[in-house]
């Protein structure tokens, strides 16, 4: 293909008869199409990476080559790209979890050579059904292999993703006659070098990353109430719509609630978020992305799950509620703002919880050697085990087991492999690479220290970021709070907003969703069915706080651990929460879950709460067996077995709706089991209520 031919395609694809190539675009196309090379392209978002791979696809297809495979973590946002691909007569399709029923059909179209480009997410490569029904039958005729957001390949990078490890190994095996394009907007020297070393035989094209329209500002507000107050007071003075990043899901939920209470339209966004009106999390997240895209809300409050590639040219601001993990991550996140407008803000807030949160993330990044060995030992004893079966053999949580499996599965060679739903031990000696884990952990701490350095920096903030990213031609930006202090927003807020935020934090309850299925074989005594009938299920409950949180969590923890008495402040808070919640049908009595170790603690609290609510407290549940503390049980099977036969219900109890009180909720099994027992004994609906939650997330 000649440059002129490519230029014609470019003009057609973006519907602009006078368009010219951006720097390096033609060079990349030429290398792929005419020289069948492997290319790493590091260019800022908006440079036009998709033009490169769609023009290359058109050229290769016209020359008789097979389909282009495009691997990208953000498929929802590729819809615009699919439109521009259509202008080139490229039939691009996507296969994802929302169209499983079409896979067979799409696969047939692919085999019939009717499709030019297939867009998939990286995790699809670990999906056996997808590999067997779609990709492998097709793989004899792949013309071009594209990997978007290629910085995820590097585990030295800020956003290593396990699913990319598989992509790396596939790329390593690509023969030299197979063109490959890897693209990213965020990679410093270390990451580029790592990608080059890992893949081998790849050439790099690298452009500049500067973003002229961003005004950067850092604000230290140690306690959460101050940050809530500041945001409410200033967010409306910032033009346009934007994103607030939080470090945890809970804060995303909390902050969006707070903003809505203050008449600022906000929605929360994080991995696994669900909504009644949407079939699954994937669809709801897509909806949330669209709502922000169309400026129907002021702000989307998101965790880093709102990730790479979210391309909204007129995004007006990105605020961080907490410090991010690294400078590169920060640059990538604020880089979403101001792409197509002349003025946008990147504001970094920070508080005293930042270091703790990051330390937690850093230290829980890898499974422990002890857990790894437990899983390997049990797999070695069998010819394949499913995850529920592993749970029956070892006392580890499902999440812990999955973490171990995920970690081991991306090792190469790997000591384990998955076949259908079972995991097998492979005949490979395995030793955890502790040295590497240690150096990665050290690196993460170092990267976070750089963020703290950025927070306190007196020099040009944009310059600081670009230096860390090894960008070229770095000069002062002239706009940030250090270059031009008059651009900065005021850091103060009114006393009223401060008080109101502080009250809000204390009235920030969360729903408790009880379990709807029991593990098979865990209840020989109670004989619960795998799917219990509707009239044995609890209603949605409420929990007042998160263990040690900024609202009531710290008081609950102190009262439980030091005082062995929940004070009246908590009784009142719980009463207010219940009144505000007002569940239907309204419970007419109240009971609690007894404990043999702390006989008085919860009943005493419940009795006082009953008086406040003006309904009777009835001791309906008797503990008949001294079992182990539920918190020692790591997975559902063990947690359930531990509860089986431990409680009985008294014979005469009201046949009316009831509040079921406990101090701490974690796995929710205790609530689930006791609600079922109460319902069996003839009560009305059961509403679980707890003082604090120790569950993650």
């Amino acid at each position: 293909m000649t440059k002129d031919e490519a230029l014609q395609l470019l003009r057609t694809s973006i519907n602009n008869p006078t368009a010219t190539f951006h720097e390096d675009q033609w060079e990349a196309i030429d290398a792929l199409v005419n020289h069948r090379k492997k290319m790493l392209v590091v260019e800022r978002t908006g440079w036009g990476k998709s033009s490169v791979y769609f023009i290359a696809t058109r050229a290769l297809r016209d020359a008789g080559y097979g389909v282009t495979i495009i691997i990208s973590p953000l498929l929802a946002l590729m819809r615009n790209q699919i439109v521009s691909a259509e202008r080139l007569g490229i039939n691009a399709v996507t296969v994802n979890s929302t169209n499983i029923k079409d896979w067979q059909l799409i696969s047939q179209q692919l085999l019939n050579n009717q499709v030019d480009a297939l867009l998939i997410s990286p995790e699809k490569l670990a999906n056996e059904k997808f590999m067997e029904t779609v990709l492998i039958p097709l793989s004899n005729k792949i013309g071009l292999f594209v990997v978007d957001e290629a910085h995820c390949i590097s585990d030295w990078g800020h956003d290593f993703r396990p699913d990319y490890q598989r992509i790396t190994r596939i790329l390593q095996q690509m023969p030299s006659n197979m063109p490959v394009l890897a693209t990213t907007a965020t990679a410093n020297d270390r990451v580029v070098e790592d990608i080059e070393n890992q893949i081998g035989g790849i050439e790099t094209i690298r452009g500049t990353l500067v973003r002229d329209s961003l005004i950067l500002q850092n604000i230290k507000l140690p306690d959460q109430a101050s940050r809530l107050a500041w945001i409410v007071e200033h967010i409306n003075s910032i033009n346009g719509t934007g994103i607030i990043y939080t470090s945890t899901k809970r804060d995303a939920y909390m902050l969006s609630t707070w903003l809505n209470q203050n008449n600022i339209k906000a929605l929360a966004y994080y991995s696994g978020i669900i909504h009644d009106k949407f079939e699954d999390t994937h669809l709801y997240r897509q909806y949330l992305e669209d709502v922000l895209m169309n400026n129907q809300i002021k702000v989307l409050v998101a965790t880093t799950a709102l990730g790479m590639g979210y391309d909204k040219p007129d995004l007006g601001f990105v605020i961080h509620y907490q410090l991010p993990a690294s400078i590169v991550a920060y640059y990538q996140q604020i880089g979403r703002a101001g792409r197509g407008i002349s003025y946008a803000r990147g504001i970094l807030l920070s508080g005293y919880e930042d270091a703790d949160i990051q330390a937690f993330f850093i230290n829980s990044a890898f499974p422990s050697e002890e857990h790894v060995n437990l899983v390997l030992d049990i797999l070695n004893k069998y010819d394949g085990l499913s995850i529920p079966n592993i749970q029956k053999h070892i006392n580890l949580g499902k999440g812990q087991i999955e973490k171990v499996l995920k970690y081991l599965d991306i090792q190469s060679p790997s000591p384990i492999t998955k076949n259908s739903s079972k995991w097998y031990r492979t005949p490979i000696h395995y030793q955890m690479d502790k040295e590497k884990i240690d150096s990665l952990t050290q690196l993460r701490y170092k990267e976070f220290a750089q963020v703290e350095e950025y927070l306190n920096s007196r020099e040009c903030l944009m310059k600081f970021l670009r230096t860390e990213l090894n960008d070229k031609d770095i000069t002062d930006c002239g706009k940030c709070m250090n270059c031009n202090p008059s651009n900065a927003l005021n850091t103060s807020f009114t006393h009223d907003n401060g008080v109101s935020a502080s009250n809000f934090l204390k009235h920030n309850s969360m729903p408790i969703e009880v379990r709807k299925q029991f593990p098979t074989g865990a209840f020989p005594i109670y004989d619960f069915k795998y799917r219990p009938p509707e009239n044995e299920l609890a209603e949605e409950g409420r929990v007042l706080s998160k263990w040690q949180d900024a609202g009531w969590g710290k008081i609950v923890a102190k009262n439980k651990q030091k005082d062995n008495y929940f004070n009246d402040e908590l009784v009142n808070a719980m009463r207010d929460m219940i009144l505000h919640w007002n569940p239907i049908p309204k419970p007419t009595w109240i009971t609690c879950i007894p404990s043999l170790n702390h006989k008085e603690l919860v009943p005493n609290f419940t009795e006082r709460l009953a008086k406040e609510l003006g309904i009777p407290y009835i001791e309906a549940i008797i503990k008949v067996k001294q079992n182990q503390a539920q918190k020692m049980m790591a997975n559902g099977f063990y947690q359930c077995s531990n509860l089986d036969g431990a409680f009985e219900i008294k014979e005469i109890i009201p046949n009316e709706p009831v509040f079921l009180i406990d101090d701490i909720v974690d796995s929710r099994w205790t609530f689930t089991v006791l609600s079922a027992l109460l319902r069996r004994s003839g009560t009305g609906e059961v509403f679980p209520v707890a003082l604090t939650s120790t569950a993650n997330g």
Partner: protein, 315 residues
């Protein structure tokens, strides 16, 4: 994990299946086609990896063959995506790939079968065992109790005599006999290498270096009679001396007949009193009868443990 050499990549692209199912669009070159083509490449001072260059059509301009057309070669070479996906999956669980020019490639196999020797061998476990001095034992899946014990004893004897056991993967009791006394074994598999490499029966021996599983068929291939016959041949060729235990299996008789065309191959049969005519058939085609008492009978109380283990492995 390192990637395989460009040479091996090119040979794989031209000769191998990358999925469970037969290739639909284009048939990989079989060993004799490959032998023919490789000979031509060699004569023209070319190596298979030259075909991975962008100008490979120019390289092949003098090549002309009705069955091995340039279009077919081109289609095969453009299966790079399939190669990469398959190799990633296989290498991840420890499967390696060697070609005829590899130093660990079984030397007798190459010497005796020449251009018909498999262009690619897939394997798992200790490659170094492939060229250890070995004794072959061939049997079939269905086996009498008497022969089960016999095979176990034979495996033990081969190890004690200092040989590596060479077998076709159907006689697990012979392998067990050998491994039981600290011996080593090479097993040629006609199919399903991937599945076998995950079996708990082989796992410890694969990990401690006393076992190698090797196959000329793609790791995920399923049983077919032709590869089963060829696979037996590989055992005969590589070991020179092979004892056949059970004789009801047609594949064994066919493969023995073929192998005996090579004068340096010596085959022995352990006659089974329950199988009259087939043993005779083998002897008629030139298989020698094994003298009685070649191995000592095993004690009766050991028998149950073997039998029950055998049961477990079959499940």
């Amino acid at each position: 994990m390192s990637s395989i050499s460009q040479m091996t990549q090119a040979i794989l692209l031209l000769t191998s299946n990358f999925s469970k199912n037969k290739e639909v669009d284009v048939t990989p070159l079989n060993p004799s086609e490959w032998g023919y083509f490789a000979f031509w490449l060699h004569k023209n001072n070319l190596t298979p990896d030259d075909l991975l260059k962008t100008n490979f059509k120019e390289i092949l301009q003098d090549w002309n063959d009705e069955k091995i057309t340039i279009q077919r070669i081109e289609k095969l070479l453009h299966r790079g995506g399939a190669l990469a996906l398959a190799m990633e999956k296989w290498q991840r669980i420890g499967i390696w790939v060697i070609n005829r020019s590899d130093s660990n490639y079984p030397k007798q196999l190459k010497k005796k079968l020449k251009t018909l020797s498999p262009p690619i061998l897939y394997g798992v476990g200790n490659q170094k065992l492939l060229n250890k001095e070995s004794m072959g034992v061939i049997g079939s899946k269905k086996i009498s109790k008497e022969n089960l014990i016999y095979a176990f004893n034979l495996g033990e004897k081969i190890a004690n005599d200092g040989y590596t056991l060479l077998s076709n993967g159907l006689l697990e009791s012979a392998v067990e006999g050998t491994l039981n006394v600290g011996g080593s074994a090479t097993i040629f598999l006609s199919n399903s290498l991937l599945k076998s490499s995950l079996s708990s029966f082989y796992r410890n021996a694969l990990m401690d270096g006393s076992l190698v599983l090797v196959s000329s068929s793609s790791p995920e291939s399923l049983y077919d009679s032709n590869s089963s016959i060829e696979n037996n041949q590989y055992v005969y060729m590589q070991s020179s001396t092979t004892i056949i235990i059970e004789t009801k299996d047609k594949d064994i008789i066919l493969s023995a007949k073929e192998a005996l065309k090579n004068k340096s191959i010596s085959l022995w049969v352990k006659e089974d009193s329950n199988l009259k005519s087939n043993g005779q058939e083998l002897i008629q085609i030139g298989v020698k009868k094994l003298p009685n008492g070649f191995t000592e009978p095993i004690e009766v109380d050991n028998y149950d443990s073997i039998a029950s283990k055998e049961e477990i492995h079959k499940r």
